[in-house]
Symmetry: C2
Subunit: 474 residues, 2 copies
């Protein structure tokens, strides 16, 4: 048996030990999912720039097709086409404020992955966890296709495909496919597939769950093989386009104009008649086709913007997909949201609207979402908006319980809206959307001139598919 | 001033301190030679395979376009398109025999480059130095285009373009352009340009020096800019072909049949109607065009074999160039030899002949070198063979002094011939030329399935062109 097979078995055992209470066996989801030869076929990358902290340490792991930036330690883990980004890591001396307490950091934050099996998972830094501000730990965890682990330390858990854990400490949990949790802390829980759950203790609790029939059509998790459904079909159909940008070792100039204050990763796919305005940030692994991104818009990793116009200061979060839509200024599209319109059935979303993470808008008729709305769930016709959207203004007035269709909100609506808006403003600021030529410098201006460096596994022998021990520092 | 400029200045000062006795200033050869932007334009590689030892450690250095295999430590150095190979490094527990003494190695051998500036230089392992068998040190040294440092620890020295130091410990020396030394040990000496010097203390001493007019035509070293001459023109004209094999990050299948026991590096350039037989080894950065390599032939790095037939068990050493020639079995072509014939003026070399390192055969008429000859110096017509070649059999009978043209031999001819033949046999064996399907396994059979991994420097900022600290182990 190859060493990589032993490693995978050991990871399965470790996760199962953690999940012995709900008695969940991750084995069937992991074994046979990726043929051993595949681990050897791809190469991994690390990014190098003067604008990001730097420390990589890889040991006893397979990193096939994965990408790393910042400070990342990976031990005894299998990362398959994952994306581990530390470009907003907290720094030594920073002070983390949490409920009035001030925690100064005695070290730079580092992403540490140990005994994990992550498939096509995006890990983003700045762990929200006030208990361990210097280490963003992912341990004894299996996470499947297009899951997002966003500022969320995860231990002993299973994340289904397209699941997102956002600013949440997760301990011994099963997060079902396409479920989204942003709840601060979660232990020994099974979150059902297609659940959208946002909670701030004492403030509010937002929950929605997709109907099973809809969920299966869009994300159908299967043990022992790739997930199926509309979302997988969509990304798989565009896989080849990324191959071409990553195959070349050398840099190429961007294929479109990059105006002042804007940044376009050369590892983004840019096709057709695409235009970006000032202060736009297009991350690596973003996909733009016949797209217009207005001033200060940002397109995050794994997002797709196709035949669409974003009028400015728009956030398209990790994994967000926008096809044939016109989005007014400051429209926010959350993680893994899927907005698919067409020439016959176009989509318009008015200024300042918030499309919740994991929302599916897949149109059978033209739909026009007015400004200032919160949208969630599944929308295919105008009538669906009745139960799947709400004016932010109305939500702000809610105090106590409110139900709308399958959505249940409890708590202070104003705080919910305020928290969301605050976060959107933070994202825009951090990415440089408000740069005026001198002030408000963000990621777009700091330069995305990152060199991408290739690492490959042992090509044959017992260690085939595993990487050597690599340590990289400034 | 960028950090890389400071580094180059410091290296110049260190080399000059070592060379204060002959008062040689390397500054003019180094300053301005490579524009600072160039260091940032290229990426470096390291090779990974289960068949080679592994430890890379890079610190405070620029490695632009360089390649590493085995165990290599580089500190405070500038390696520009150099090739540092440790694929035959001595191993812990090996016993180095030297003049009856047995030195067991307490550690694996490692190539260590410190405060060096090497341009397009090939460094090959297995340091012959019995005093430091575990460390092959190159320190306080400047070495220019297409120089070879072959098993030769070098300290405080300057090597001109196309110079070769072979199995020689070099201390505070200036080795002129296109000079070749294989003399065991050398200190505080200036070796004149175009000198070929092979000495084994108490056994023999072979010397030849190219006429200045010929030398300048083939290798003309200039301070502050690239060398000129036929050899530079030749390699520069084929530079683009290498770019294409190194640009792609992924492996491609070889473009020609690779028969049993043979190995063809996928980082070799193979063009036209080229064929290789069993047990052939074609190294990375070898260039084959309309070439036939018979059984057990090997083509080493930086060699070029064009429109030529090598009938078997041929060695084409590092930097050897063969154009339009037919070479009988066991013909040996030494380092940086340049054999250029043409359709009208073809070259034939008979079985078992030895073309000395740094020999120039550049034909104005057809030339047929009989079997069993030693060839050196500059040959353009048949008549030149009179003073530039000798039957090995005749040389074997020499005892004492013998002069032929500009060549001067002193000592025991039989020992010289025997030493040469012994080395050729060793090269053939080590490379797997005598593999019979079971026994005599060499490099060709051990597999050249090496993965090539890219490293890039900081793309901008103060550290532009310098690489981070990188440590890679099994």
């Amino acid at each position: 048996m190859k060493r990589i097979e032993q490693l995978i078995d050991r990871i399965i055992d470790r996760v199962n030990i953690n999940l012995r209470e709900p008695a969940f066996d991750v084995g069937p989801y992991v074994r046979g999912l990726i043929p051993v030869e595949q681990f050897e076929r791809f190469y991994a990358f690390y990014g190098l720039s003067p604008h990001h902290p730097l420390h990589f340490h890889f040991r006893g792991s397979s990193l096939a097709g994965s990408y790393f930036l910042g400070k990342c330690i990976v031990e005894h883990s299998v990362l398959y086409k994952s994306d581990i980004r530390g470009d907003e890591l907290k720094m030594r001396g920073d002070v983390l404020c949490h409920k009035g307490l001030q925690v100064p950091l005695h070290d730079d934050e580092v992403i540490r992955i140990k005994d994990g099996f992550l498939v096509k998972t995006l890990v983003h830094n700045y762990s929200h966890d006030p208990e361990n501000p210097e280490e963003f730990l992912i341990q004894n965890t299996v996470s499947l296709h297009y899951a997002n682990i966003h500022g969320a330390p995860v231990e002993g858990s299973f994340l289904g495909p397209f699941a997102t854990v956002d600013l949440t400490t997760v301990h011994d949990c099963v997060i079902g496919p396409f479920a989204y949790v942003q709840v601060g802390e979660l232990a020994h829980r099974e979150v059902e597939p297609g659940t959208i759950w946002i909670r701030s203790d004492g403030d509010f609790d937002f929950r929605y769950r997709f109907p099973d029939t809809v969920l299966k059509r869009y994300v159908n998790a299967l043990s022992g093989r790739n997930p199926e459904g509309v979302l997988m079909d969509f990304v798989e159909a565009r896989k080849e386009d990324f191959q071409e940008v990553f195959d070349g070792a050398v840099r190429r100039p961007p294929r479109i104009d990059v105006p002042p204050g804007a940044a376009l990763s050369r590892y983004a796919v840019v096709r057709g008649d695409t235009e970006i305005a000032e202060n736009v940030l297009v991350a690596q692994r973003a996909y733009l086709e016949d797209a217009y991104l207005g001033k200060g818009a940002n397109a995050q990793e794994n997002c797709y913007i196709i035949r669409s116009r974003l009028q400015g200061w728009n956030v398209t979060a990790h994994g967000g997909k926008i096809i044939h839509a016109v989005l007014g200024p400051k429209v926010f599209v959350g993680f893994n949201a899927f907005l698919r319109a067409s020439e016959d059935c176009p989509l318009k979303i008015g200024e300042g609207s918030i499309v919740m993470p994991h929302t599916v808008v897949d149109l059978e008729e033209p739909v026009d979402i007015p400004p200032g709305r919160l949208v969630w769930g599944y929308v295919s016709r105008r009538a669906d908006l009745e139960h799947q959207s709400l004016a932010l203004e109305d939500l702000s007035r809610v105090e106590g319980l409110m139900e709308k269709g399958a959505m249940r909100f409890e708590g202070n609506g104003a705080r919910f809206v305020e928290a969301f808006r605050h976060r959107i403003e933070h994202i825009l600021e951090a990415n440089g959307a408000y740069f005026d030529g001198t002030n408000n410098v963000g990621h777009a201006q700091k330069g995305q001139n990152i060199s991408f460096n290739i690492m490959q596994p042992y090509p044959e022998g017992e260690m085939q598919g595993l990487y050597p021990t690599i340590d990289i520092r400034p």
